[in-house]
Structure formats: structure tokens, C-alpha cells
Symmetry: C2
Subunit: 549 residues, 2 copies
């Protein structure tokens, strides 16, 4: 049996889950419950009275956290222990120190084991300051970031979240996809003369990123512009991209910062600082740093990411809900669900624990979502009346970001109507509503929670991002899985290389050129993979070992 | 028992589902299977050899379609029968004729029962042509569409899909959310002097849309511009918005076109025609119309939407997968998954069948997704190695849209690399891969299918959109649910009105003004809902009947 199954709290929670709190029962969801089941820290409030938990469930979730030593693990991670590891696997065994990339606000003691990493981050930050002074003088007004996965999703969601704070005449675009239409579309929007292009790849080997870089370099050259006066690299020291003569500047990343946790490194800071200026980026990092510290709090009502992680564990492992929707009632956070989808699904979408054994419990749910109130006019029908129950994590703000609001004839602002809708749906999902006509009836008992903040500012966005990062990591600690590798992407990567080889052969031969049947490469691809040239070596294998990069 | 449970095919499929095809078994997934399990019509190919189906399963799915009389129902719908209905419900009982809004390409016979609806649509189309001539002459270059749900998701995904075909100097933006930051952001991007604003609401009562209209009208007035020279309405005759004197033009919608199926009406055609011109919109409508006819084909291998619907039924009701991911390998289709999410989840996220009984089977899954290759660097880890299996519907194109591609040193283009990745992941999900190290092992048997087309053009996009519309409707026919109402959004709507009333009271009273605790309206909202002023009238009810709009 795996560790998770052996915890005493697990067994008790399994028992409690047989009869979870009935929120649809008259009087259960009262103001006392909503008040008591709310936790406040750093100006954020987490309301969880609309989850199907009792005080007893919360007590045992807290015990589960203790049995799994999650606070010790979080402390160890933040102090530089090797947590990116898996027994018997030769490939991993690294520190995980994205927290160090924003840990330069307090005086560092000599004993701080991560002071070197914090100093590394600060050094890049200083470089960025000088770089931006040059960029300002040279009159650049557009920036294109080329990167995929963590090199795009985090930075793009942050850039979008903070557009209200943008400097005048600054715009940032992103190219991620290997689809040539992505680059073509973005390049049609900018004046390359005045454009900085930031190429982000930790390994320096990311297929999509390097191909898009090549395409953009060609475009600069075609225009008679010198690519190295426009291109900037963000990569690891010694990578194929660590070529200062080919770039205007090279910013560094480190092995101990994973892609999906890299928003606070130069991956996120270069585009954000270009758009917002250094001061706003510092505020954002201060927000992340404050939440990093809150994630070490032993008091569960102060440690919001741990509290939220435990509620997710309850929903996933005990009530067995297969998905979780993230729904900010905030246009600014429109792109956040896509980033959190990666953060959770790539970190915790695993079936092997850290001892190398197959797990006998459920790990990451499917993360999806969108913004309210838009979702109300789209998928809420299923949330309220579908045959499947999908827990929701709502996010809300008291104040609007732009401050351009409008009151109706009754003096109620749009922002207040936005909040009213958020509150209404959270309550409606929980309590349901009985009507004799079944199609107008709502079963209720559909769990949700609300993370409420004052306003979507750089500091708040930093806190919210770190809140979700730590929530994901806490879940990984409880499940005892490695949240920091991504073996699941290797097979597709290897296979696609083989199919690309098929395309090359097709391109060399002329036989397909005139009338190339669309289905051909697909069928051929499989032929190649199954064919006699690459016989199966193991029983269940359909092609030979694709090896490792 | 419900109808679905009583079909003979249902029982046999349940038996077959106990041992679905093992795609990970050496040799199962071969080129013969991939070739046979592919269906081609209108230049589209649907490859489904990577689904966990046998020929026997397909045979019984076909029988299920016959038992449920889905072709008769589709024909009846397209000929104007009342299909938006539910026994015992006084509120619905309407025709569903979005197909008529694109049915003016062939000569109409006198016997065609929907010739009036087709003529209605054509009349608006003629109005649009004249309107655009005026707009062209007056030099408008921006258009903002204000609408939410179906009035935004479809049109926005189509606009984004076809940007490569856009007329020069034309841009379209969308405002949907009641969040005032949405309007503020979009208004910061345009010159209102040269901007048309299209306000879309069938009822003329949509809260978000009317509030945003009010905000935009105020902005025009503040600039000394006359709103009625810029604003256009798309609404039903007689609605509160049917005020020709207040708008530059009023385009009409009809009761028989539901919001989520309204892209081919003026809801989608006004912004598309502004961006692309009338010719391209006609091509788009021709594509939809062609697929409408294909949806009547008795041959399952010609009727791609029905084939796909049956595969979804297999995955949902027999293999019990709770979600379905839509993943276009196309940057142009980035916004399509959000539209399809609404289409399916709002149509089929129901728990009551058309006889008014609770269903005893699963209806719509959760629809989520994103574009490839981006997803590979995000959530594919879970797809390949998570503890949950999520079937995937891939979409791919042979040619790029912009035609700005780049070949590498081996002569392989980015578009070919994009396709190679698509094929590789579809195969890898199916076959899996065995490795002695479990975290490098892939279980396989994760179903997917690929819809392949030649190029993302207006005609193809029209076909693809109608393909998904009909797929959703076929599923509803098989489940015998009403795919055309949305009772599930009513409760939240009523509750939010009450909470808005709370905000009004707060704004009138002064006590909260100075230090307004963020949590207060939430707690207060519940107090109001639970309090003695609105005593429970039925057993399970937490507040009085909110009534119907």
C-alpha cells in the first residue's frame, strides 16, 4: 500500500466521506457557518462554508497534513533540499527553488542556505534594470515573447492580468505554437523596427521555440535588420542559446526553477518589466514572497494554500470528483485558468509515487474554467443541473482594476453586480432549490469556495499566483508524488520526431507531391512505427525504445 | 426506466463495454484498422481507429441511433417541428431552426416547410449588405460586439479563426463580461469616432449586455458623439431593443434560433462580414449548409456528426469517461474549445429527460481543451500518465492559413511538424509504451479521434462548426433530453437580483461606507436569503420561490 493509503487520517476521512455535509438541508448553510468557515491572511479571505465539509472533516484534513509532514516538506523545499526526485530514477534529483527567485526583500542571514540562489536572482534583476534603461532610450515599444508551456502561460496570464497598470505605448505579444499561423499573426501586428523579441527556453532545445526563433530571425534579416540587436535570450548557462554574441542580452535561468514555476524569474519579469516598469514588478514579487512565507504558517487559517490544498484532497480523494473548475469573476484574470491548468495537471497528473510504485488513489483532477459572468451564459447549466458534479474555485475582487465603473439608477455599480453574481452562484450551487417541476429543480450540494481580494494589483496577483503554486505543491506532498518532473511528455516527443522523419522522406521523394492524400502521413506514420524496421522489443510495446533526449 | 436504458442496443453495448478493445496490445492498432476506421465526406476525414471500439461496437452504436430515430428527429428539426419542448413544462415548445438561417443556396421548393424562415434570414442578409456599403463609405474601421454567451463565444471564435482572411484596416473586439474592466480595456483600444458597436441580445433584457451598452452610450455622449450613429442592435422583433430610432440599424433574430446556435444568424454575420466582407461570409454559410445536409445522411460513414456523436455516447455512457477534451492543432482555432464548451454543456448538461423524469444515465461530459502543440507543454502530462482518462477530439489541417511557413534544413515545414505532433500524440495515447521504470511507462488505451481538413478557410470553418452543432444535437436526441433550453441558469439569476438589492441598501445606508468589510455582502446575502422575511415554503428550499422572469 502507498503512504497515502496508510495514514490514519485517510481512513477516518474515508468513513466521513460516506455522509458528507448536506448543504441543501434547510438551515445548514447559515451565516454562522460562512463566517466560521472563512480564513483570512494578507488581505485575502478564503470562504469555504460552501464546501461539503464539517468541522470534524477539517480536523482530520489537518491531521492528514500533519501525518504527511507537509509543512516540513515545504520548509525543506524553500531551504533547498532535493525534492525533485524519485527513487530509482537516475534522471532527477534536484532542488526546487523558484521561491528563491523572489526572496531578496529581507536582509539575508549568513545561515540562509538559499542565499546564493536569491543572489543569483537579484543579479539578473539588476541586469534587467539596466537593460530596460537601454530599451527605453532606444524607443522600443513592442515586445514579443517566444516560449511555450511555462514560458508562455504564466507570463501571458500575468501580462493580461495587469494591463490596467501598463506604461503608455507598450505592448507585449506571445508566440508559442509551432503552427506557423501563430507567428504569422503576431508578426502582422508589430513594427519589427521597434520590437524586442525575447526567446525563452531553459534547455535551449525546445522545438517550437527554436523554430519560431529561426522564423523571426529570418524576418528581421529579410527586412535588413540585425537580429542580434532585437533578440534577447532567457536560458540556462551553457545551453545552446547561451551565445551572447547572437543576442542583445542573455538572461539566466537555473536548473532549480521548473518551467511552470518560472513566472517570477526572468521568464516572467522581462515582459512584465517592459510593460509595467520595474517598480510594479517588484510589487508583484513582494506579493509572491509574502505568500511563500504564509505557506510555512502552522495555523491552517493563516496558511491559505494549505487549507485550499486540503479541500482539494477532500473533493478529489474522498468525494471522488474528477475535475475542478477555476472561475475568476474578473476579466483581468481571463488567462489564469490556462496557467493553473498547467501548474496542477503537469505537476500532479502522475500515476507513480516517489517510491516508484503505482498509486492506488486519484491524483490531479482535470482543471478547466473560465471567467464569470461569462461562464454563467455558457457552462453553468451543467454546473447547476448536469449529471456530473464539478467543484469550483471562485476568485473575486471588491474593486475594479481600471476604476471606470457605472452605477445604475439604483446606485449599484457593475462591480457590485459582478460580486452579486459570484455570491449568488456559490450559494445556489450549495443549497440547490426544490421545485415540483424537475427541470426547474436544482439538486444543490455542489461544492465551491471563494478567494476574495481587494483589487487586482501587482501585489495581489503575486499573492494569488504563489497561492496556487503552493496549493499544487502541498497536494503533491500529501500524495507523495514528484510534482516537479514531466515524464509524460517524452513519448509523444520521441514519436513526433519519427513522424517528422517520415515527412522528410516524403519531401525527398516526389511521388506524393502532386496529389498528397491528407491521410497519408498518419497511416504511414503508424506503418513506420509498427513496421518490421522497428520490431517490438518488449511484450506490450508497439515500437522500439524511443530513448531519452 | 428512461428510454435510453430500454434500447436493446444499450444493453448490448453495456456488455461490450466490459471488455473494450485493447489498443495497447501489440498489433491491434495497425494501418488496416486506421484505414477502415476512417470516414470521409465533404473533404473532411474522421479517423477513429484510436477509439476503444470494435466493428461490433460500431454496429451496435449504429443500431442505437436507429432505435432512437435520430435521423428522423434531425430531419424533423430541420423541417421545423417543435423539438424545443419538455412534457408538462409550459415554458417551452418551439421550433429549432438555426439551420434555416443558412438555407438559401439552393432553389426553395414551394413545399419546403421552412421556406419562410430561410426567406427571413435572407432578408437580414440583404440588409447587412446595404449596411456594410454605408459603413464602408463612412470609413468605420473598428467594430465592438457587445454580447455574452452565444452572442460572443461563437462570433469571437469565428472571427479569430478567420483573421488571416481579414480585410485590411478592420478590427473586431468583444465586450461580454459585466466586469467593468472588460469594457474599460476594450474601449482603450479603439478610436470611437470610427467604431461601430453591435449590441446583441435576443430578449433585449440581458443584464450584462444592456449595462455595457449603457456604459458605451455614455462614453459616446461624453465625447460629443451621437450613440445612434454608431450603435447597431441585433435582437428579436418587439424586444425592448427593437427601437430603430436609437440605433443605426436593427437586425432581427427569431425565437427559433437559440443563442448557442446563432453564429450563422446576424449574431455572427455582422461582425464577420465587417471583418471579412460578404463573399467570405457566404462561403462560411455554404460550409455550414453543406454539413446540415450531411447530418441527414443515412450512411454513418458519410454522416460525420452522427458518427462522432455515437463515439461520444460510447465514451460517456459505456466507458464512463467524465470529460472530453477538444484540441485543435491550429492556432486559428484557439477560441473554438470555449464555444464548443458552451454548445455541449449548455445543451446537454441536463438531468431531466423530455418526459420530465430524472435520467438514470450520464449526460454531457465536461468539455475543456486548448490548442496543440501548446497543450503538450501543459496538460498532456495528465493525458498520458494521470490517474484519470480523458478522451480527446483532435482537429488538424494539412495546410497553414497564412501560408507563411519555414522549412528546416531537412526540408520539413512547421506545418508538417505540427501534424507530426498531432499524429504522434494520438497514437501514443492509444498504444502506450512499456518501460520497466514505471514513471517512464505509459498505460495507453486513452481514446482519441482526429478530424482532418485541408485548410482553415471560411467554408471549412463553417463545416466544422455545423459538425459540432449537430454532434451535440444528435447526443441530445439519443439521450431524449431537450438540448435547447437552459433552466439551470435561472436560480443564480434570481439570487443575484436579491443580492444586488442588498448592495443597493448598503449604498443607501451610510453605515458601511467608510470601512466596508469585504466579506459583508456575502454573509449579508445569505442572511437575507435565509432570514425570516422570506420563510421557506417547501421542505428543501432555503428561500422563497424566486419566480420566473
Amino acid at each position: 500500500m502507498t503512504q497515502f493509503g496508510e495514514y490514519l487520517a485517510t481512513k477516518e476521512l474515508q468513513r466521513l466521506a460516506q455522509k458528507p455535509t448536506d448543504l441543501s438541508k434547510d438551515g445548514t448553510l447559515n451565516t454562522k457557518r460562512l463566517t466560521q468557515m472563512s480564513a483570512k491572511n494578507l488581505g485575502l479571505t478564503l470562504f469555504y462554508g460552501t464546501e461539503r465539509v464539517s468541522e470534524n472533516v477539517m480536523h482530520h484534513l489537518n491531521l492528514l497534513a500533519e501525518e504527511a509532514h507537509v509543512l516540513d516538506k515545504m520548509r525543506a523545499m524553500q531551504r533547498g533540499s532535493v525534492v525533485n526526485s524519485l527513487e530509482g530514477s537516475p534522471n532527477e534529483g534536484k532542488k526546487v527553488l523558484h521561491t528563491a527567485t523572489r526572496d531578496f526583500f529581507d536582509p539575508q542571514s549568513e545561515e540562509n542556505p538559499t542565499k546564493q540562489e536569491a543572489a543569483n536572482a537579484y543579479q539578473e534583476f539588476e541586469k534587467l534594470k539596466h537593460f530596460l534603461e537601454v530599451v527605453d532610450k532606444q524607443g522600443f515599444h513592442s515586445l514579443i515573447q517566444i516560449g511555450i508551456g511555462g514560458s508562455e502561460l504564466g507570463p501571458a496570464s500575468l501580462y493580461f492580468a495587469l494591463q490596467a497598470f501598463q506604461k503608455p505605448n507598450r505592448v507585449v505579444h506571445f508566440i508559442s505554437n509551432i503552427d506557423p499561423d501563430h507567428a504569422a499573426h503576431v508578426l502582422s501586428l508589430v513594427d519589427l523596427n521597434k520590437t524586442i523579441v525575447v526567446v525563452v527556453s531553459k534547455s535551449g532545445n525546445t522545438l517550437e521555440t527554436r523554430m519560431n526563433e529561426m522564423l523571426v530571425r529570418k524576418r528581421f534579416a529579410d527586412l535588413g535588420l540585425s537580429p542580434q540587436h532585437h533578440l534577447v535570450a532567457v536560458t540556462q548557462k551553457g545551453s545552446p542559446m547561451d551565445q551572447p554574441e547572437q543576442y542583445k542580452e542573455v538572461f539566466y535561468l537555473w536548473d532549480y526553477v521548473g518551467g511552470r514555476y518560472s513566472s517570477s524569474s526572468m521568464v516572467g519579469c522581462v515582459p512584465l518589466a517592459f510593460a509595467l516598469g520595474m517598480e510594479k514588478v517588484l510589487e508583484f514579487l513582494r506579493g509572491m514572497n509574502a505568500m511563500d512565507k504564509a505557506a510555512l504558517e502552522p495555523d491552517l487559517h493563516k496558511n491559505l494554500p494549505l487549507l485550499s490544498a486540503l479541500l482539494n484532497i477532500w473533493n478529489r480523494n474522498f468525494l471522488h470528483y474528477p475535475t475542478c473548475a477555476i472561475i475568476p469573476y474578473s476579466y483581468a484574470l481571463s488567462h489564469l485558468p490556462a496557467h493553473l491548468q498547467q501548474c496542477e495537471m503537469e505537476s500532479n497528473g502522475k500515476r507513480v509515487d516517489k517510491t516508484g510504485k503505482l498509486v492506488d488513489f486519484e491524483t490531479a483532477p482535470i482543471i478547466w474554467g473560465g471567467v464569470g459572468t461569462d461562464g454563467q451564459h455558457s457552462f453553468y447549466q451543467l454546473l447547476h443541473q448536469g449529471t456530473i458534479v464539478a467543484p469550483v474555485e471562485f476568485i473575486g475582487f471588491k474593486e475594479s482594476e481600471y476604476g471606470q465603473d457605472l452605477a445604475d439608477e439604483k446606485g449599484v455599480t457593475l462591480q457590485e453586480k459582478l460580486l452579486a453574481n459570484l455570491f449568488a452562484h456559490s450559494l445556489a450551487l450549495a443549497t440547490g432549490y426544490h421545485h415540483d417541476q424537475l427541470n426547474q429543480s436544482f439538486p444543490g450540494n455542489r461544492p465551491s469556495r471563494i478567494l476574495l481580494a481587494h483589487q487586482c494589483t501587482p501585489y495581489t496577483v503575486g499573492m494569488i499566483l504563489a497561492y496556487f503554486e503552493h496549493k499544487t505543491i502541498f497536494q503533491g506532498f500529501i500524495w507523495n508524488i514528484n510534482s516537479f518532473d514531466q515524464e509524460g511528455v517524452e513519448l509523444g516527443k520521441k514519436l513526433s520526431k519519427r513522424i517528422i522523419e517520415q515527412f522528410r522522406k516524403k519531401n525527398l521523394g516526389k511521388e506524393y507531391e502532386k496529389e498528397f492524400p491528407l491521410s497519408d502521413p498518419y497511416i504511414k506514420a503508424l506503418e513506420c512505427l509498427n513496421g518490421p524496421a522497428t520490431p517490438p522489443r518488449k511484450t506490450r510495446m508497439c515500437w522500439s525504445d524511443p530513448g531519452r533526449e
